[in-house]
């Protein structure tokens, strides 16, 4: 039983980070209807940027803050250079561009940082795990979870309580009408990309702390896709719950199923789960159902 609780809790903690990255997906989808397949590479870039600052001797929090700022700027630049011209083009075109972007970013990262695994040294979080009534929790997981949740709360507040959040939803819903009401679509898209970069970047930095950092952190970003689809592509609470479910599921299958197979169950379990959910709820758990009056 102890193992079970242990696995669940670790899963929830990991899920917090997934939720953060999932938010990046949801955000871009929400305001432009585009599935940003370069999301994994955004996590990768964020992780390396954070690591670089940390290695320069910045305290971790400051390095994270710099990641946020640089992430936002990179997001704006990406949107301006690659995607601004595609406003109004078919969604599939834009998705293909994000595929291209993912290769491009990956290439840049390999070029600048190499392919060897690097770790945050000295370790950011104390190595000594915390023991809560027999449940052992690594401090990395715990603090990463808190960091992810804090950032999530900020984003959710942004959407719920500021007019910019509402303007973003409006642009997603009907671009022409939003324009006529004085909402600048370009501003909205640029902000969305900026924020997506931040979410992915911080998520990547935290993931890099847990397992060390190499190119495969980018695949972790892709692993979040089931979380997003599960929650409903355009639902922010959905992304959060989906992220946590995927985290738990991944850990459960790792703990209980991996021993029966040569390995890899941990990686595919989320995708299998995604397919099953989609069979029964095509819009995900909280996605917009299309309202059609006849």
């Amino acid at each position: 039983m102890n193992l079970f609780i242990q696995v669940i809790i670790t899963g929830i903690l990991m899920g917090g980070i997934y939720a953060l990255v999932a938010l990046g997906w949801t955000l871009i989808y929400k305001c432009s209807g585009v599935l940003n397949l370069a999301m994994g590479e955004l996590t990768l870039i964020g992780a390396y940027v954070c690591l670089t600052f940390y290695m320069w001797g910045f305290p971790f929090l400051l390095a994270l803050l710099c990641t946020v700022i640089i992430g936002f700027i990179l997001g704006l630049i990406t949107e301006r250079i690659f995607l601004d011209k595609l406003i109004g083009e078919p969604v599939l075109t834009v998705i293909m561009v994000t595929v291209g972007l993912s290769f491009f970013f990956r290439g840049i990262v390999e070029f600048l940082f190499g392919t060897d695994t690097v770790i945050f040294s000295p370790p950011v979080f104390p190595m000594k795990p915390i023991d809560i009534g027999g449940i052992i929790i690594g401090q990395v997981y715990l603090w990463s979870f808190f960091a992810a949740i804090a950032l999530l709360l900020i984003f959710v507040a942004f959407f719920q309580f500021t007019r910019w959040g509402l303007a973003m939803q409006a642009t997603a819903d009907d671009e022409m009408a939003a324009l006529s009401l004085g909402v600048s679509a370009r501003f909205v898209y640029a902000t969305a990309w900026g924020i997506a970069f931040i979410a992915a970047g911080v998520g990547g930095a935290l993931l890099g702390n847990i397992n060390g950092l190499n190119i495969s952190v980018g695949y972790l970003g892709l692993l979040v896709l089931p979380a997003v689809v599960l929650g409903g592509l355009n639902s922010i609470p959905g992304a959060i719950v989906g992220g946590i479910i995927i985290g738990v599921l991944q850990n459960l299958s790792g703990a209980y199923l991996d021993r029966f197979t040569p390995g890899g169950v941990k990686e595919i379990a989320p995708f299998i789960f995604m397919v099953i959910i989609l069979l029964y709820k095509p819009y995900g758990l909280w996605g917009w159902e299309r309202i059609e009056r006849v």
């Binding site: 409006a170 022409m176 009401l181 309202i291």
Partner: protein, 270 residues
């Protein structure tokens, strides 16, 4: 009705041409709209009425000609900046945010009038809170009251019947507190009772001291157009035929010719 008692020229469209490929949707159209009037634009289908509205609104940019609003050249200005200048509109095919509530839709219209930034939005103290309360009062007491949509304020727009959606769209356009309102077929698809309500709203918006909004109305319902317009411009195949008071337009030989085949200009749709 003599047009003299209206204010100065608010919107001036000067020699505007708009082509889609080789097709001229508008060729050399000029007209001026004076402050305080209801100026209707009529014409057979495909005459270029909606194109003209889109040019005024900034969704299209004409290849030739200028448009000026309150003596400021706005030909090159982006749509969302025009909204800030005070030009607002409704659409022929309803363009509401379907997944949001009626209130949220109307609130979005206030977007440009809220000045507080993101940070102060979080803290929600003093000025921001005051601004929010004022916005709410404006929306609830003035717009919702005027359009009589109190009972549906928290409903999701996509679920509402067509006539009510049209009303919500008008409300959203009004939330900008516009100086010039472009109405693109506000009566299309409404039943008789709804048409009467909508015509009454348009008159209210135009005449009530609180609003005094100048309106440009594109509409096919000739009965209403003739009743409520101060002046009417007639378009046909991208050319302006004439501008005049309803009675002048009704007796214009060219107008009658343009509508030939529709026999009874006034009996259409009634």
């Amino acid at each position: 009705m003599p047009s003299d008692h209206f204010g100065p020229i608010m919107l001036k469209v000067n020699d505007v041409s708009m082509f889609f490929g080789k097709v001229a949707a508008l060729s050399g159209v000029s007209l001026d709209v004076r402050e305080g009037e209801i100026h209707s634009i009529i014409g057979p289908n495909g005459a270029g009425k909606t194109v003209l509205l889109n040019c005024i609104n900034g969704l299209y940019h004409p290849q030739k000609g200028e448009i000026s609003f309150k003596e400021q050249d706005i030909t090159k200005i982006k749509t969302y900046h025009r909204a800030e200048l005070g030009i607002s509109r409704t659409f022929q095919k309803i363009e509401l945010f379907r997944g949001m509530t009626v209130l949220d839709n109307i609130r979005l219209g206030r977007h440009i009038h809220l000045k507080s930034g993101i940070l102060s939005g979080f803290i929600y103290l003093g000025k921001t809170a005051k601004e929010e309360i004022k916005t709410r009062e404006f929306i609830e007491e003035e717009i919702i009251d005027l359009l009589e949509i109190e009972s549906i304020r928290n409903k999701t727009v996509g679920m509402l019947p067509y006539g009510l959606q049209k009303r919500v769209e008008l409300g959203r356009a009004l939330a900008l507190n516009p100086k010039l309102l472009l109405l693109d077929e506000p009566l299309a698809g409404l039943n008789l009772e709804e048409v009467e309500d909508m015509a009454r709203f348009i008159l209210d918006i135009s005449q009530e001291k609180r609003w005094k909004v100048t309106c440009i109305l594109v509409e096919h319902d000739m009965g209403v157009v003739m009743d409520i317009s101060d002046r009417i411009s007639v378009l046909s195949f991208g050319n302006k035929i004439t501008t005049g008071t309803p009675s002048e337009v009704q007796n214009n030989a060219q107008v009658i010719e343009a509508y030939l085949g529709e026999e009874d200009l006034y009996a259409t749709r009634r």
